[in-house]
């Protein structure tokens, strides 16, 4: 008999996704897309824009309001000239944030403000992916970086920063070679979807986005899941400050990503893919869209690829400024134009993803490995990094290094080798005080531990992680209390606000470091434990890692009580 406990309860809140699905089927744009158009056109989002977005997207007005208050891009008012200053960790490591101060003072604007006449606006952004040339400032559509950037911006003479080329230590590069679609060709000719799936599993391809989850397992779940449709989503929301690896992949080698997505689609039975890239990388979407056009023209995307029965196409969607959207459930929410908040799992995306259909979410770099596995086989892939995690890995270095840039390397190389042989050590004769590896949720490695090998388990053992592969060096002049403050500011600002520990805890942790009074270590430890063990996603549970590293290795600098 009926009772509240037998009320038909969905496994998760699904009505907004259902509305999105229904309206998508009728080619309605997402609410987020309409709001983004509005802000591009008008410089801000008004209630009229929200009503139009509700009308066009089919979402309720309230939901649209909620979306419009979530994303940085929709919240920051824009003047005719919109200046976005990067406050990422590499920019912080480069100059301690002095570029921000210089700009606010010279413009007479605080971050997030616009002049009364709407001529100029100033906003914060994290991060522009020019960590090799910090500090970076985006002036309208031009991203300038490096010394003198503030002067150039103020003089109205911004110029596009130059990106260093990427390199590989491998004789036959996997990731920095241009994608040639040979893996897809081979798979469609010679492999059943299940065989491809087995090959990826045998290759033990681990996710490159942070968690290191085996890609083959995700695919297997999605392949087994029941759904009218299935989707492949490439997570191009490389929000980790200090990382610009996926940016390089999407902008320089988009075909490799598209091939990987098509292969994933073939293996799991998906006919459509989405790439979610960042609005902070304005060049990514155009590069991907152009590559998609080319691939369609070459019969590599679209219906009956290479004359086979397999059809697959890709849509590129740009985010709107939110770090947590890199988390897979938040990513799916953003992709569907909803608030980019995290959802509890289960249900996993492999069961309920885009439009509540089974969905594989893989990081961009992860997918870029699939073409090699398909063309060369699992064995060849495993041999790329002997005795370590299979495959190769892209790493990148921040501006403090002598030779910053993106490098393809083997797993198992020590951090010292990476920093010295690839990065060339620090510039200006500075010494490494510490490294933050893999983004803001990664621990901080003191110089004394530089001989730690670059690999999942080894870094984990010293409280660090591979993460995205971004390597940010803090030089010997860095104030580590400032590092804590910088990281916690970022953590609190980017918390999606869904789970209580992260929503309130990161704010309180930041307040502890901002306060003039010494930080009570016991209270801080309690807070960190609650964040680590209580948070819903890796943002809240990961933010304590660098703080713990600082407590372990630099406690004397933190102003503890």
């Amino acid at each position: 008999m009926s009772s509240p406990s037998t009320r038909q309860r969905p496994p998760s809140s699904h009505n907004l996704v259902e509305l999105v699905r229904r309206h998508h089927a009728e080619r309605a744009p997402t609410a987020l897309a309409v709001l983004k158009e509005a802000v591009e056109r008008r410089g801000e989002v008004t209630d009229d824009d929200r009503r139009v977005a509700a009308e066009r997207s089919g979402l309720p007005e309230a939901a649209v309001y909620g979306i419009s208050t979530f994303y940085d891009d929709l919240l920051q008012p824009r003047g005719r000239r919109h200046i976005r200053v990067c406050t990422g960790t590499a920019c912080f490591a480069a100059c301690g944030g002095s570029h921000v101060q210089e700009l606010t003072q010279a413009l007479g604007l605080e971050l997030g403000e616009r002049t009364q006449d709407k001529s100029i606006s100033l906003a914060e952004t994290v991060c522009l992916g020019l960590c090799h040339s910090s500090p970076a400032v985006r002036d309208g559509d031009v991203i300038d970086a490096g010394s003198g950037v503030v002067r150039r911006v103020l003089a109205g003479a911004s110029r596009p920063a130059v990106e260093p080329d990427w390199q590989s230590v491998l004789p036959d590069p996997v990731l920095v070679r241009p994608g040639d679609w040979s893996g897809l060709g081979r798979a469609l000719r010679a492999m059943q979807p299940q065989e491809l799936l087995e090959e990826v599993k045998a290759a033990n391809l681990r996710g490159r986005g942070g968690a290191g989850f085996p890609a083959g397992s995700k695919w297997e779940f999605a392949r087994a899941a029941v759904g009218d449709q299935k989707f492949i989503v490439a997570n191009g929301d490389e929000g980790d400050p200090g990382s610009y690896i996926d940016k390089y992949l999407m902008e320089r080698n988009p075909a490799l990503l598209l091939e990987g997505m098509a292969l994933a689609g073939y293996a799991v039975g998906a006919s459509h893919g989405f790439v979610l890239c960042r609005s902070e990388y304005p060049l990514s979407k155009p590069a991907l869209d152009a590559a998609i056009e080319r691939a369609r023209g070459d019969g590599l995307l679209g219906d009956h690829i290479l004359g086979s029965a397999f059809s697959f196409d890709v849509t590129v969607i740009e985010g709107a400024g939110s770090y947590v959207v890199g988390e897979e459930t938040a990513l799916l929410a953003c992709l569907q134009g909803l608030r980019g908040t995290v959802s509890a799992r289960p249900p996993f995306p492999a069961q309920r993803g885009v439009h509540a259909m089974p969905t594989v979410v893989n990081n961009v770099e992860t997918l870029c490995n699939v073409g090699f596995i398909a063309s060369q086989g699992a064995q060849a892939y495993r041999e790329l990094s002997p005795g370590a995690t299979p495959g190769s890995k892209l790493v990148c270095f921040n501006e403090r290094f002598l030779r910053p840039g993106v490098y393809e390397t083997r797993f198992g190389t020590t951090m010292r080798e990476l920093c010295e042989e690839l990065g060339g050590g620090l510039r200006d004769g500075r010494a490494i005080k510490a490294l933050q590896i893999g983004g803001p949720l990664g621990g901080i490695l003191p110089a004394a531990l530089l001989d730690t090998p670059f690999d999942f388990d080894e870094l984990d053992a010293v409280g660090c992680m591979v993460g995205h592969g971004g390597i940010v060096a803090f030089d010997d002049q860095t104030d580590m209390r400032e590092v804590a403050r910088h990281l916690l500011h970022f953590g609190a600002h980017e918390s999606c606000g869904k789970c209580f520990p992260c929503r309130i805890g990161l704010k309180r942790a930041h307040e502890m470091f901002v306060s003039e009074t010494p930080v009570d270590r016991a209270r801080l430890e309690t807070l960190l434990e609650t964040l680590e063990l209580g948070s819903l996603c890796a943002h809240g549970s990961g933010m304590p890692a660098p703080i713990r590293s600082l407590l372990t290795h630099f406690s004397q600098e933190l102003g503890l009580a």
């Binding site: 929200r50 309720p60 980017e494 209580f500 948070s535």
Partner: protein
């Protein structure tokens, strides 16, 4: 059916049941803030943390599915400590203590939490009392999402939404112009589920319970 052991007592639950359901079936109770029987589990408040044998850390009871042979400890010290700290943090964001009759106050009492070790920024008072029956006091909102989900999953009026992010997360009706100017159908499901009186009935605003001892 799956067999789960809750605090030493074995119970049989259906596949797909959550740990929270198993605990309740075993006659136990776990404090919750964002959970409502009428809604899908949300997993936001993290107050329902329990110990699960073999798990790397405390698990939220409301969103964790039961596995056969799972052993659940509702009094596991780490889980209780984490959950208690969360309650402390929640109290710290309110400019005034929650009314004694509210669910939040009851949960705080269950954890013996009366104050917070982390005083800090609180939410600024902001009231919508234009509706004849419903009031929304934004500063009392703890972003549990229950009102938004009640409006979505129970009534289907979609008049409420979560707003902002991080510490500034809150809820609002329609385009933030209040209940009267939204698609609200005045069913009151939001007021019914709100654990803090952030949304309540106008008629109850002045009705205060005697304080707990």
């Amino acid at each position: 059916m799956i067999r789960v052991i809750v605090d030493g007592q074995a119970v049989e639950v259906e596949g797909g049941a959550t740990v929270l359901e198993a605990v309740r079936l075993a006659g136990g109770s776990i404090p919750t803030l964002c959970f409502d029987d009428r809604q899908a589990p949300f997993g936001a408040c993290r107050v329902c943390m329990v110990g699960v044998a073999g798990a790397p850390g405390p698990m939220p009871a409301c969103t964790t599915p039961c596995r056969d042979g799972m052993e659940v400890d509702t009094c596991e010290p780490t889980a209780r400590r984490v959950a208690g700290t969360v309650v402390e943090l929640v109290l710290s964001e309110l400019p005034e203590p929650p009314g004694a009759h509210t669910e939040l106050a009851a949960v705080a009492r269950a954890f013996g939490v009366t104050d917070s070790r982390w005083p800090g920024a609180t939410h600024a008072p902001d009231h919508d009392e234009r509706h004849p029956y419903l009031s929304l006091h934004h500063e009392l909102c703890i972003s549990c999402g229950r009102c938004v989900r009640a409006c979505d999953e129970v009534q289907g009026a979609f008049a409420l939404t979560a707003t902002g992010r991080g510490f500034h997360a809150n809820v609002t009706a329609g385009l933030d112009a209040g209940f009267l100017d939204s698609s609200c159908v005045s069913c009151g499901a939001c007021a019914d589920t709100c654990p803090t009186d952030a949304i309540t009935e106008i008629s109850l605003l002045s009705l205060v319970a005697p304080d707990s001892g």
